[in-house]
């Protein structure tokens, strides 16, 4: 009897001691968020310039971890500070259950972000140059691109992969001026008869560098059209030794309709000049060059392929007193290929994340 008692005590002790030692996890709710206030001044061609204040994005992150493996994550966004008559947007941008088995394998399911391009999944204002997101991430790879879906992810030897099964695009909404952007369904009662399939691979084992690409296919469907869409993109970002450099290239092919291809690229180069003076605030002047054509190839050709083709030079400054807060100012000039029409933009703003 005494021995049995000893044995049971041992079982109890070993279970509690060995299981609890180094067990740092506790079930926990997390809040976070980001936001950005912008001043936008634009002068398109010879038209009079106009300027606005825009609290562009206010986003709250809420998550809960039940265990080390099972968690829930969500993001709710209010765009343009106010929702009325189709102006402004209230969006559930992320809401998914995540299972993290190990570094090699995990999955999530719910409202997710497809892993396409550098910014879609990592879109907080301190993470990119320019007051507004790069025009490439508006017109070629539209961000924030969210919707119903599931993905499998993992990391092996510095290679980060993600395979995504995502809601379809609505092909009726594709346009020469905006490519696939208007075709996003944003998780709203999307046609469940088809999917967008996406695969992403990044390499991360060179310090400061992320380099990779993604390929996506979707037999997109609307009420009146049905178009095969392929999205290929390459991305690279270097952030070390006070240098930040970014390059992204994207190409979208459409197999029917007037629009045949959308294409664009941009590069950024910035340097933290505050490091010369040993300041802890980061002061990063940067330049950006973009070449964007949402109608790079069309069925009818000719001017249709020049009307939406423009190049853009931008110079700007990001000032980060701390990593989570950024003040931004930039000036850019766009030149339309069709007629050399010039548009000028002055933007400044403040952004934060936590």
């Amino acid at each position: 009897m005494k021995n049995l008692f000893l044995f049971l005590v041992t079982i109890f002790l070993s279970k509690s001691l060995f299981a609890q030692e180094f067990d740092f996890f506790e079930p926990k709710a997390t809040i976070g968020g980001y936001g950005e206030l912008h001043y936008n001044n634009e002068k398109i061609g010879n038209a009079a310039s106009k300027s606005i204040w825009d609290f562009h994005r206010f986003v709250l992150f809420f998550g809960y971890s039940w265990s080390e493996k099972w968690s829930f994550k969500s993001e709710v966004e209010l765009e343009h500070n106010f929702v009325k008559n189709g102006q402004g947007e209230l969006e559930l941008e992320q809401a998914y259950v995540n299972y993290h088995h190990s570094d090699l394998f995990g999955f999530n399911v719910g409202i997710i972000l497809p892993s396409i391009g550098l910014i879609n999944e990592f879109h907080e204002p301190p993470l990119f140059f320019g007051t507004e997101r790069p025009v490439y991430h508006n017109l070629i790879i539209p961000t924030t691109w969210f919707g119903s879906g599931a993905s499998i992810y993992g990391n092996y030897n510095g290679f980060d992969y993600r395979l995504t099964l995502f809601e379809t695009l609505n092909s009726d909404k594709f346009s020469l001026s905006q490519g696939i952007r208007p075709g996003r369904m944003k998780g709203y009662k999307t046609d469940a008869s088809r999917f967008l399939y996406s695969v992403k691979l990044d390499y991360l084992n060179f310090p400061g560098l992320k380099v990779g690409g993604s390929f996506s296919f979707n037999n997109a469907k609307g009420d009146s059209t049905n178009i095969d869409v392929t999205i290929s993109e390459f991305h690279a970002k270097y952030d070390a030794n006070n240098i930040i450099a970014v390059f992204e290239f994207g190409n979208i092919n459409y197999n029917s309709g007037e629009l045949k291809a959308s294409r664009g690229y941009y590069f950024d180069l910035g340097y933290n000049v505050a490091s010369i003076f040993d300041l802890s605030t980061k002061i990063i002047p940067f330049i950006r060059y973009s070449d964007i054509n949402t109608a790079a190839e069309t069925l009818s050709g000719g001017d249709n392929e020049k009307l939406y083709h423009f190049t853009e030079w931008m110079i700007g400054l990001n000032i980060k007193p701390i990593e989570q807060v950024v003040f931004k100012i930039d000036y850019s000039e766009q030149t339309r290929k069709l007629d050399d029409r010039k548009s000028k933009f002055i933007n400044f703003g403040v952004g934060y994340m936590f």
Binding site: T10, K15, F18, F25, E68, S71, E121, L204
Partner: protein, 174 residues
């Protein structure tokens, strides 16, 4: 019965998840070599020291206690290690920093990463950047510590976490 108890003790080591313990042992051996022994002590951090360090670095300690390892090669102490946690976006990141007798970092490792994003902070290429740093080093992400696109929160969090330990080890070695 005693045999059974011993057997159970042995089994419990292998059956229950011991990944953190195993990873720590492996990290210590990788850093100091196979012929080492170590003592573990769960140290309560002095309140005023804790406050000072938290203020200097701008990050709170995960808890009031920390795992302190003294590593010896059978003859004398050859180094120290501290096992601690920082929060990533929402989950703890468990990491270890190994020091020489002067408090200079000789190795650092992520022992357990639990977040779905930002796992690249575990790479040897990233963690090896801390080698040679001590309490006087800068620890500025983007300058002497390279960032990782897509792992910004973890990178900043772990960098501050390691900086805290370089300050703490000075106090522990006294």
């Amino acid at each position: 019965m005693k045999k059974l108890t011993l057997l159970f003790l042995l089994l419990s080591f292998t059956v229950f998840p011991q990944d953190i313990k195993d990873n720590v042992n492996q990290a210590l051996k990788n850093c100091f070599g196979n012929n080492i022994q170590f003592e573990i002590e769960k140290v309560r951090i002095d309140k005023s020291i804790k406050n000072d360090i938290e203020k200097t670095v701008g990050q709170k300690f995960f808890s009031d206690e920390i795992y302190f390892y003294k590593i010896n090669d059978n003859k004398s102490i050859v180094g120290y290690a501290l096992l601690d946690n920082v929060y990533g976006k929402s989950l703890p990141i468990t990491f270890i920093v190994m020091f020489d007798l002067n408090g200079k970092i000789i190795c650092s490792d992520i022992i357990k990463y639990r977040e779905p994003y930002g796992g690249a902070v575990q790479s040897k290429e990233w963690t090896s950047q801390f080698k040679g740093k001590d309490a006087h080093s800068e620890f500025i992400v983007g300058k002497d510590i390279s960032s990782i696109s897509g792992a910004t929160i973890s990178v900043n969090s772990v960098t501050k976490g390691i900086k805290k330990l370089t300050l703490l080890i000075k106090w522990l070695m006294k």
